[in-house]
């Protein structure tokens, strides 16, 4: 080991889902939206004059913040933006969880929470989901350094109703409660309406799922102005310009296309409900899916085997080789055509192998 390695922060990073380059693959492994970004966003990409890119972007990303303020009915000073909700969440962990008491989040959830806690040396305690994969509210009503609740949760897909979310926030006025709503537009009820009443609440959302802009990396958060100010201070202490000019413009344009937004979400939900019915017919079981994915298990077919068989067939889903969930596959909702292809293969495979 070189001497300089002594001073190095050593971490085990989060592993994202594969991004295969082959366009023929049916890619149901990273919860992307199967539909393209809004036409207004596509148009602005064509219209951008590349000459302006010699200049730095607006460090406040005001066009985007303004558009979010208009769309969600909050003042601009209550909105934070970042390079995907991962950046927003990472900054939030860095900013709000400086205490010595452990922060709380579910044991089965977005595995990045644990990675951020370790990266920043934040003490944490995972709270086990119940046998039906539900987050138990009682687990989040104790002395702690902060709380992170994904709603709907991933990879389970289960959502909590607003009253339960509010109870957790109300019980913990002394710490920041982050509600990670990456998948909220596909069926959950957002905690946005609680922001004016709770100064300890941060609601985090993203353009990567419901707005089909994963490739542009745009996330945002709502909170009281003091909390957003702290978050911006940390952001400006890290990187003055996180959002680039094209992301700012495309994000703002995308928010103006409400009809397209509703239409694509409606299509994803309809396909999800169809897929649920078809999976049930084949004997799969799954928690009620409120996101753009289904977390499914087959009682008579090992998940890992099925994962590999699907991959060989050019159908990528996500498999987590972890206790309690190693018999499940997380299947992103694609187009009707993609899901029909998936069902055809599953039907045939289970017929031959189970």
């Amino acid at each position: 080991m070189a001497a300089w390695e002594e001073n190095v922060r050593k971490v085990v990073p989060y592993t994202p889902g594969e991004q295969p380059e082959n366009p023929d693959i049916i890619k149901l492994n990273t919860n992307e939206n199967p539909y393209p970004p809004a036409p207004l966003a596509a148009q602005i990409l064509k219209d951008i004059n590349s000459e302006i890119l010699r200049k730095y972007p607006d460090p406040g990303a005001r066009d985007l913040v303004r558009a979010l303020a208009g769309r969600y009915g909050l003042p601009e000073e209550q909105i934070f933006v970042g390079v995907g909700s991962d950046d927003v969440l990472a900054m939030s962990f860095l900013t709000f969880f400086q205490g010595t008491k452990p922060i709380l989040f579910p044991d089965i959830t977005y595995s990045f929470y644990e990675v951020w806690a370790k990266l920043f040396g934040i003490p944490y305690q995972c709270q086990p989901l119940d046998e039906q994969f539900r987050i138990r509210s009682a687990d989040y009503q104790k002395d702690c350094g902060g709380i992170v609740i994904p709603n709907p949760n991933a990879p389970t897909g289960l959502a909590k109703d607003l009253a339960e979310i509010e109870q957790i926030i109300a019980c913990n006025p002394g710490v920041i409660v982050i509600i990670d709503e990456a998948y909220i537009d596909f069926g959950g009820v957002s905690a946005l309406s609680l922001v004016p009443r709770y100064d300890n609440l941060l609601v985090v959302q993203t353009f990567s799922k419901s707005r089909s802009l994963a490739g542009m990396r745009i996330g945002y958060a709502f909170g009281n102005h003091k909390l957003i100010k702290y978050l911006n201070d940390a952001k400006y202490s890290f990187n003055s310009y996180t959002m680039n000019t094209v992301s700012i413009a495309m994000g703002a344009a995308s928010l103006k296309d409400e009809a397209y937004f509703r239409e694509t979400i409606g299509k994803v939900i309809a396909t999800r409900e169809w897929t649920k019915r078809e999976l049930s017919k084949l004997g799969f079981v799954f928690p009620d899916a409120k996101g753009n994915f289904i977390f499914a298990s087959h009682p008579r077919c090992p998940a890992k085997k099925l994962f590999e068989a699907l991959k060989e067939q050019g159908i990528y889903v996500r498999y987590f080789d972890k206790p309690r969930i190693d018999q499940y596959l997380r299947i992103t909702i694609g187009t009707d055509q993609q899901m029909q292809a998936l069902m055809r293969f599953l039907k045939q495979y289970l017929g031959e192998n189970v």
Copy 2:
């Protein structure tokens, strides 16, 4: 104060130069390149199919890394990329400066170094420049936790020659030495050639200055593969996808246009040398400028007064109200036309006021 504020990381952020929206302003305040990005980069922006943006970018930004590897003659595993060199430097501070001994950097330099040290709780010790604003090599030959040397330095513009840089790296095998080369293409000699010989060296560069892509946020670093692996582990523990699809594509395309790169740099250097001569004629003094800016002082005109007079005239330069440099203005090199307008105003103003 709300109870949750106890757990908040409180920081004083870096203040970037103003980004005025009025296009008539002669903007010489943030060291942007006055020329547009390379035509190949402009073309790829027009050619991108927005439909692919529904998908996450390649987390490894391989197209960009490959292009950098080709252009700079290093293997891909010795290259790290990020959201501007600020992101690359922030990640490097987080990763490499975990020791208890202070890291060293100049007292007059990019003020973000101090901000990052404070953000991450890294002990640091500023080393004073000499009376001619030179970095004294002897100051960096002592027991420490790491070293950051900007070359050329900003806002002074002075460059160190390669032998001096090598001496500092060779003297400190037990810690990481970061050479921040944001402005290297305008006249300094890069430490890139030392990378194969020193495993403790990280060379950081950017597309924001010499490649006219400040708006797309692209920075990169060269180092030995082990060092880059640590840096990537930290990056993947912070945000899986920092570089978006458009930035990756434009960055890679820009590297293919070597002739345009040389041409614009040549023009900036020629304008800088002309500006130096003109400033001298008016009585200004300045350290020898090797970047795309000049750090100038007039013996008989207070810098702050001049800064404000210029601003009123629609000419933005950068003024730092700090000890030792409060009689200087940092003037970015613009087009010939812009610099002529600046000189006309200075001539008139000094004639009337000094």
